[in-house]
Amino acid sequence: MRLPEGFLFTSRYRILKRRLHPITKEFGLTLYVLRKSTLAVIGALLVGMFLFLAIFGSRVAPYDPYEVKIKERFIPPSKAHWFGTDKMGRDVLSRMLFGARYSIRAGLIVLVIAVPIGVLLGGIAGLFGGWRDEVIMRFTDVFLAFPSLILAMSFSAALGPSLFNAMIALSIVWWPMYTRLIRGQALSVRETDYVEAARSRGAGNWYLVRRHILPNCLSPILVTLTLDMGWIITATAALSFLGFGAQPPLPEWGRMVSDGRIYLMQAWWVSVFPGLGIAMTVLGFNLLGDGIRDALDPKLRRITEVKWKQRTFS
């Protein structure tokens, strides 16, 4: 007997839906817990605003960020120039609006490079143990023995100071932290009863990674990623501040703080506003990261779940 086309489709769809249900349900709960925390909402708003500026900042900027007007230098914050002008008469607000994208790009690129390396090496070290673990972890120790900022400075200097090279340098510095995190997580998951049970059923390594290790590493990674966006943005700005990152006239925020530094006494606004921008962004990522951590914490989660169910099903 032939079944109609639609039947197959619906059943497949249903199976998919049922399979995804644990994930979608948990995700809905996570969003609910997040929404209940005022601080997490503030964080999300700050991050959202920052992302908006990174994408559309250049369109809403009132002035050209590069245009030099020596006559209009060091105008204090006013109606025409909300954040004042710098030593070359460039509008600080417009420069900041243009500059937002560099920070977010730096954060994303560093994470995209560092996380896969860290996950791969940490996973191998934690799962297989033995000599692989020893080799990988000693190698990681070498990188962790450096003060990270100094190591990033050296790499950036070696590659030639530019914003892009600063990002590469930070990625080289950042992966060991993920390697450690994932290794620890893999080690602790490997010892649990359910992995033992799966193993005794004859599950292979790949199955274990897919079904048990990765899902269990996901939430600590997610929290670390959010908090690390803030760290990386600060670190990029710090490298630029020291002259190992963005070069003038690029309106990177750290570079702008450093450019205004010598004029601090006569024109505080040149340094203060870009720095405030960095601080608010990092604060946003920190608040959001904390919120996600609380939302993924099983203890807090179950308490809120009761309320959530009452709300959804009554």
Binding site: D141, A145, P147, L149, S154, A158, G254, R261, A279
Partner: protein, 339 residues
């Protein structure tokens, strides 16, 4: 004794890590596109001079030979080479700059602990009360504010605006330098005006650095204290009717203090690195500024020397923390199994 064996083993493990650090630095220096010898000799140097420099620092040799020469002089004569830009032995330079950085990092460290850990504890005890909100805001601000920016703000308010404390440099009062740590030396000299000068100059950078570190400590202490307060033995202790003071200090704090202590080691090493920014801003004549300068000028011997010292300090501070950790927590007796 087991502890001694453990320390010895850890110190032995230091050797491969240091070797790895050396190899890494030499590889970095090898891929630098600029010609270091030309940079050191200056723009007016004749080709023979550049060649002589290259010969002297073994720049024509492959990396592994450079590392070999370096290790040979390090082990046989405890010689870190001669700085290519200052012309002084790197060891002399580091000896001169290390106390300044250590002084700064140490006071920031102590300040962060003395304020941060109690604040975290109080915050957890008064959960969701105004005190808690206040300390969380302080902690979050500390963690989120970029160090270089808060340093500039501090300079702006407390030096330019209020004129309370000096904002640049270390003490310049002439005293006998016994140890290089100015605060200690001025006490040894019984020179209190020098002590006052050194202390006021230390305030701004140390407070800035401490504020940054403190936020981190407050968050960790608060989290771990909250966790412990919910545990069964604390609930039992409360139920038995023990006074709150005893429950907090005897039962809760002893266990809650472990996570903050584990991060202290990392934090101290990290402070030594973070001083680069502060030393640049506050014109503090320390190792961080020396390192930044040597990186800019491709001064390889200085770079290598600095990284060796920094890595050693970092590893040693982790070791100290691990030992301390085992003293507090009997479950983690170092150097072998407990049973």
């Amino acid at each position: 004794m087991k502890l001694r064996n453990y320390i010895l083993r850890r110190l032995l493990l230091l050797i491969p890590v240091i070797l790895g650090v050396l190899v890494l630095v030499f590889i970095i220096s090898y891929v630098i596109p600029a010609d270091p010898a030309r940079a050191w000799a200056g723009p007016k140097a004749r080709p023979e001079q550049v060649e002589a420099l290259r010969e002297r620092y073994h720049l024509n040799d492959p990396v592994y030979l450079q590392i070999y020469y370096y290790l040979k002089s390090l082990i046989l004569h405890f010689d870190l080479g001669v700085s290519a830009t200052s012309g002084r032995p790197v060891l002399t330079d580091l000896k001169a700059f290390f106390p300044a950085t250590f002084e700064l990092a140490f006071f920031a460290f102590v300040l962060a602990i003395v304020i941060g850990i109690p604040l975290g504890v109080v915050s957890a005890l008064r959960r969701n009360k105004p005190t808690d909100h206040f300390s969380r805001v302080v902690a979050l601000t500390g963690v989120s504010t970029p160090l270089f920016w808060s340093a500039l703000l501090m300079q702006f308010f407390f030096y330019y605006k209020l004129r309370w404390v000096p904002a640049f440099g270390r003490s310049v009062v002439e005293i006998n330098r016994y140890t290089g740590f100015i605060l200690l030396d001025s006490v040894l000299n019984w020179n209190w005006s020098a002590f006052g000068d050194a202390a006021t100059r230390l305030i701004l950078p140390a407070v800035t650095l401490a504020f940054y570190t403190m936020g981190y400590l407050v968050r960790i202490t608060r989290g771990s204290m909250l966790e412990v307060l919910e545990s069964e033995y604390v609930v039992t202790a409360k139920a038995k009717g023990l006074p709150a003071r005893i429950v907090i200090y005897r039962h809760a704090l002893k266990n809650a203090i472990i996570p903050p202590i584990t991060v202290l080691g990392v934090t101290f090493g990290w402070l030594l690195g973070g001083t680069v920014l502060l030393e640049t801003i506050f014109s503090w004549p320390g190792m961080g500024r020396y390192a930044a300068g040597s990186i800019v000028q491709v001064d390889l011997p200085a770079m290598v020397g600095f990284t060796l010292v920094a890595a050693t300090v970092m590893i040693l501070s982790n070791l100290v923390v691990d030992i301390f950790y085992s003293i507090i927590d009997p479950r983690v007796r170092v150097g072998g199994k407990t049973r």
